[in-house]
């Protein structure tokens, strides 16, 4: 709710750790009056894509389809950065870089860490969105 108000308010510590405040502030600046409900639309789009991509990455890993995994993390990398999920973005970036050089050791571990972080981000996003 706070995120949808015209001026940014101090956020609960849990959210603050998951979503970067400066990034959220930039989103607000795209639509200072909130008339276009930009932040809501962006967050909803992110929520939808996160919900879709997280299971996709798990399935791709099971199939051993590293290219599909790579595509998921590439996409998540930039969109998570956009909404301020910096830790998630960093995870994606790390996985993408390893996959680019075909280092597959510990990939499963990294992906499960990514899934955990993804769920946290998802929760944080849902908190920001109106019911």
């Amino acid at each position: 709710m706070l995120a949808l108000s015209p001026a940014p308010q101090p956020q609960p510590p849990a959210i603050a750790r998951v979503l970067d405040e400066a990034s959220l502030q930039r989103l607000h600046e795209l639509d200072p009056q909130g008339s276009n409900r930009v932040v809501e639309r962006v967050l909803r789009a992110f929520e939808a894509s996160l919900q879709r991509l997280l299971p996709q990455s798990a399935q791709a890993l099971q199939r051993g389809d590293h290219e599909a995994v790579r595509h998921v993390v590439h996409t998540l990398k930039s969109s998570s950065a956009s909404v301020g999920a910096l830790e998630l973005s960093r995870c994606c970036s790390e996985i993408e870089n390893r996959l680019r050089t075909h280092q597959v050791d510990g990939l499963a571990q990294m992906l499960s860490a990514l899934t955990v972080e993804g769920e946290r981000v998802l929760a944080a996003v849902r908190e920001l969105l109106p019911p």
Binding site: E29, V42, T75, S78, S82
Partner: protein
């Protein structure tokens, strides 16, 4: 944030259209919003396939592609759209990841215009898009202007070239595609200077090369026309124009210029020149061209001291052929005559102008020609003759070829020519003088029976000029009121009274009275006789009215008319008009025609005679007895009076033959019921004889000379009425009724 209008496209009101393709919804949404914020019109697409569908019927100004996309990725999409017609040059910006060098390379390989590292720095992205759009626009404008130039050059059959002066290997020549086309080559052909020179016509090659060497040596401007034979065999005229280029030291380093196919223009110019210089009917040089040739010939003859000759050629009887057979036949005749005349000289179509300048060359021979001055008038120019016998020989040849019949409109025609010759320098020093004098010589031939030639002599000119002056003065005589009518009374000696008067024309030219014998023949020759006759008829009517008022004149004034006036349909109408205008009966103006004139044109005069009789205008036959009258005709002609020629009257009482003729004429007149009157009665003796033979009507010096109208009135008052003249006594003794004037009023 920057306001939208500041960053948006330079064309106000129309934001640049962007197709934004990204599979990531968040990114797509954010980028789209950020760019809209900056004045772009964004169309979103979530994948390559979808984007290509959009592009099938809509063209954005710029396309932004995410490189990494499921399905058709950015590279494949870029490659596919570049293959679509119309998308060869649309700017495409590829969005890549940070430090992804491989993608950057792939982006360019796929045909992307530029790449952009994905980040949330929207202003940077917007700036990049603006830059690409501007570059694209500049490129489009350049392409358009190049296309326009190429089109314009194509239309003008023009192309450009660039020649660099070079080192040891010789110069290098670059021709634009249009330039190659002008020279008959395809865009890929390699055409060197040497190869081009080989296209130049063999005869001109050396002089072209010399010209080029001279131009390059002096770094001067090149402008020349060159005749070439292209590889496809076509003969063309190429205009070459080039300006030198210099390096910073002022040394000529080469030339830039154009080549242009000017063949059509030159052909048109040649055609125009031909039309301006040659007669369209006969193809012979026209007056303008002839004058030009004559001037050159005179120049040359003066320089080299030899004579040249002008032959003025005028066809005899051409007008008759034209009038009777029609203009088409006349034209046909002129064409045939032109052909024949041409064969009489060494006729040259073209003059070698350049060669004329060289002193002593024989090039002036090319001036020799026959030309058409207009109508049936031709002139032959002999640029060099030995003496006048050469000219005479050509004239004789001309007369000879003309004598053969000409077949015109399926009919054989005979035309002859009159040729007048004038020779430079003897007969004149200018074209004008020589043309006039050859004309004078030609006229002298005409007046002496035609079909001959004459060489000019000053005596001819004297006569000719006098005649010319007289003719032009006569033209103005009517409007200047210089013409007058004098009247010679006709008397009836039996009754001693005036029974009419003959009007005789006089010309008061600058205080001198010109006798009719000096200007009437000229007037007849020039056609002036028609207005002169009209004037005389009007003036006679006016005088009849004046006399009617002043002394009751009721007879007729006779006016002499040539037969051709009788042929004019307006004659009757004019007499009618005059009678009406002056309020006199038609019969108060009488007409006289000579016996010779009447008989010569009898058939065409007869209708007029009948019409005249119908309106009560009497006709007298003048100079009767000198011509060859057909008595048969005489009986049928509506004639009122015969006038015995003065030559018979003069000899009356001198030779017995003359009284015999007069007796015969009187007998004819009596039997045809015509009045008869004796002319030229100068003595009482002549009067007596005439009277005794049965003719009492007379005119002549015995009674009165032709005198001005006022004098005639005075003559009546002072001589006739008081019966003071010697002839009145004589006549009175013969017959003696009381003296009376016409009209029945006694004075």
């Amino acid at each position: 944030m920057t306001p939208a209008h500041a960053l948006a496209d330079d064309t106000p009101g129309k934001p640049p259209e962007v197709l934004l393709v990204d599979d990531d919804e968040v990114n797509l949404l954010l980028t789209a919003m950020a760019l809209r914020e900056r004045g772009f019109a964004i169309t979103e697409s979530s994948g390559g396939e979808h984007a290509l569908q959009l592009l099938a019927d809509w063209a954005p100004d710029i396309i932004v592609l995410d490189a990494m996309m499921p399905g058709l990725d950015g590279f494949a999409t870029c490659r596919r759209l570049r293959a679509m017609p119309g998308y060869e040059n649309v700017p495409v910006l590829m969005l890549t990841g940070l430090d992804d060098d491989a993608s950057i390379t792939r982006a360019y390989q796929a045909g992307a215009t530029d790449f952009f590292v994905k980040a949330n720095q929207w202003s940077l992205l917007a700036g990049r898009l603006q830059y690409l759009l501007r570059a694209s626009r500049t490129r489009i404008e350049l392409e358009r202007s190049q296309a326009k130039l190429a089109r314009a050059q194509d239309l003008a059959r023009m192309g450009s070239f660039d020649w660099r002066r070079a080192g040891p290997g010789g110069g290098s020549l670059m021709l634009s595609a249009q330039g190659l086309r002008v020279l008959g080559c395809g865009p890929g052909d390699n055409l060197g200077l040497r190869a081009i020179l080989r296209l130049v016509q063999r005869g001109e090659r050396r002089s072209v090369l010399r010209l080029l060497q001279g131009v390059v040596q002096h770094s001067s401007v090149l402008a020349t026309d060159v005749r070439v034979a292209l590889r496809n065999g076509r003969q063309r005229i190429i205009h070459v124009e080039a300006e030198p280029e210099f390096n910073e030291h002022g040394h000529g380093i080469g030339y830039t210029g154009i080549v242009q196919d000017v063949t059509d223009r030159r052909v048109a110019e040649d055609r125009i020149r031909h039309l301006a210089n040659f007669d369209s009917l006969t193809g012979l040089p026209n007056r303008r061209q002839l004058v030009w040739r004559m001037e050159r010939a005179i120049e040359h003859a003066r320089r080299l001291g030899h004579p040249c000759a002008f032959l003025m050629i005028d066809l005899d009887r051409f007008k008759i052929i034209n009038d009777t057979l029609g203009h088409a036949a006349g034209d046909e005749l002129l064409m045939e005559v032109a052909q024949r005349l041409r064969a009489c000289v060494r006729h040259s179509e073209q003059v070698m102008e350049g060669a004329l300048e060289a002193v002593g060359s024989r090039a002036h021979r090319t001036l020799e020609a026959v030309g058409r001055l207009g109508g049936d008038e031709f002139i032959a120019l002999l640029p060099e003759i030995g003496d006048e016998r050469d000219a005479q020989r050509v004239a004789d040849r001309i007369l000879e070829v003309m004598r053969d019949p000409v077949l015109v409109g399926g009919q054989e025609c005979f035309v002859t020519a009159s040729v007048g010759i004038a020779i430079f320098p003897r007969d004149g020093g200018t074209v004008a003088d020589l043309m006039r004098n050859s004309d004078v010589a030609m006229f002298s031939v005409k007046s002496q029976g035609k079909d001959s030639s004459a060489i000019y002599s000053p005596q001819l000119a004297g006569r000719g000029r006098e005649k010319l002056e007289l003719e032009s003065a006569l033209h103005k005589a009517i409007e200047r009121d210089e013409l007058v009518l004098h009247y010679q009374p006709k008397v009836d000696v039996r009754s001693a009274r005036m029974v009419g008067a003959e009007a005789l024309m006089r010309w008061q030219r600058g205080g001198v009275l010109v006798p009719p014998g000096e200007f009437i023949p000229l007037a007849e020759e020039s056609g002036l006789i028609l207005p002169l006759s009209e004037w005389a008829l009007r003036e006679a009517a006016r005088q009849a009215r004046i006399w009617q008022n002043s002394f009751g004149f009721a007879d007729a004034i006779a006016v002499n008319l040539p037969s051709r006036v009788f042929e004019r349909t307006q004659l009757v109408e004019q007499l009618h008009q005059n009678a009406l205008a002056y309020g006199i009966p038609h019969r108060m103006v009488q007409l006289e025609i000579t016996e010779t004139g009447l008989m010569k044109e009898l058939q065409s005069v007869i209708p007029a005679l009948h019409q005249l009789k119908d309106i009560n205008v009497e006709v007298a036959i003048d100079d009767f007895g000198t011509g060859y009258s057909s008595l048969a005709y005489l009986t049928t002609l509506p004639i009122a009076e015969l006038k015995i020629d003065r030559s018979f009257v003069r000899d009356l009482g001198v030779t017995p033959q003359s009284s015999g003729i007069v007796t015969a004429i009187i007998a004819v007149a009596r039997s045809l019921n015509l009045r008869v009157i004796g002319e030229g009665v100068e003595s009482l003796r002549q009067m007596e004889v005439l009277h005794r033979l049965g003719c009492s009507l007379m005119q002549g010096f015995l009674f009165s000379r032709p005198i001005p109208p006022d004098d005639l009135e005075r003559w009546l008052q002072q001589t006739v009425l008081p019966r003071r003249a010697p002839w009145i006594g004589q006549a009175g003794e013969l017959d003696l009724p009381a003296p009376r004037v016409a009209g029945g009023r006694s004075f």
